[in-house]
């Protein structure tokens, strides 16, 4: 699945709709300013490398050789043989999306979306808090979770902080130029 970056307006509807948490908004703080920023994106299996005959970078750099990339329709490929010879699992098969990423030995809580949500939540909170602590702008705009537990006073703090970051980041988002 590829995307036209020059059409995306960054409304985040696709991120809300995605059942796999696969989509994300590209950060505005790119090293190379010519790269697309503030648009939604997803893993495209390194299409630039694949079209040139190379494996995706995650597969090529995997030290354990745990990942295999290939053509599943070709019965002689390694991927097709592994799928045929092993019991494979996919994430959330009950939704009928037929994801083409197959897991061998995916068992227990790893495939549970609730477990994955909690794991990812802790990681996201840690990174978000680190970014907000180390940057003057204070991270992204309103809507990003800071507190894990949402009691009443946590919600009040959340609203206050998001008001500050929202009004602080709004002029920056508008007056920084076309890209």
């Amino acid at each position: 699945m590829l995307q036209r970056y020059n059409r995306c307006i960054g409304c985040r509807t696709c991120m809300v709709a995605c059942p796999y948490n696969a989509r994300h908004l590209l950060t505005p703080h790119r090293r190379d300013r010519r790269n697309p920023r503030d648009v939604a994106d997803k893993c495209d299996f390194c299409i630039v490398r694949v079209t040139r005959g190379l494996a995706p970078l995650c597969v090529a750099s995997c030290t354990g050789g745990a990942m295999i990339f290939g053509d599943r329709n070709d019965p002689d490929s390694e991927v097709a043989k592994m799928i045929k010879n092993n019991k494979t699992f996919t994430l959330r098969p009950e939704m009928g999306n037929e994801p083409q990423v197959y897991y061998i030995g995916l068992d227990g809580p790893i495939a549970d979306p609730e477990f994955a949500f909690h794991q990812r939540a802790e990681e996201v909170h840690r990174r978000e808090n680190t970014f907000k602590r180390d940057n003057e702008l204070g991270g992204d705009m309103a809507g990003d979770i800071i507190d894990t537990e949402m009691d009443f006073w946590g919600l009040m703090r959340h609203i206050g902080r998001n008001f500050k970051t929202f009004f602080g980041a709004a002029p920056h988002k508008i007056f920084r130029g076309p890209y």
């Binding site: 059409r7 995306c8 307006i9 960054g10 409304c11 985040r12 509807t13 991120m15 809300v16 995605c18 059942p19 948490n21 908004l25 503030d38 648009v39 939604a40 979306p113 609730e114 994955a116 949500f117 939540a121 996201v124 705009m141 309103a142 809507g143 990003d144 979770i145 609203i159 998001n162 008001f163 929202f166 709004a170 988002k173 508008i174 076309p178």
Partner: protein, 120 residues
């Protein structure tokens, strides 16, 4: 977490406080419009004096809405992509429908206020 299980979504809220405020403003606008119609459409004499103020208040609330929605986008300058019918917009996208409704609803409210004021 129970809400995530019920709705079958396991991710964070990507639409934050501005979108919640947008729904609140649109709801207030619709309520104000209903109050303004009580005297003229449904014949409740008690609410006739507030009809003009209520219809104008609905328009004012709707003028705040595009500011919130556009500044919440990742690319605020590209908001017009929602309104370009021939090339960029999908009619299957609910946001395209919503943006057209948000455009046309204040226009209708202004026409309605005109008739409330001059046909009094």
């Amino acid at each position: 977490m129970e809400g995530h299980i019920i709705a079958n979504v396991y991710h964070h809220e990507y639409w934050g406080f501005p979108i919640a405020l947008y729904f609140w403003l649109v709801g207030g606008s619709a309520g104000s419009f209903v109050i303004s119609t009580l005297g003229w459409v449904f014949g409740v004499k008690k609410y006739k004096p507030v009809a003009f103020f209520a219809s104008n208040f609905a328009t004012v609330l709707l003028l705040i809405v595009p500011v919130l929605l556009i500044t919440d986008l990742g690319k605020p300058w590209r908001f017009f992509h929602l309104l370009m019918i021939p090339s960029f917009s999908h009619w299957s996208a609910p946001m395209v429908w919503g943006s057209w409704f948000i455009l046309t609803y204040p226009v209708g409210m202004v026409i309605y206020s005109y008739f409330v004021y001059y046909k009094n």
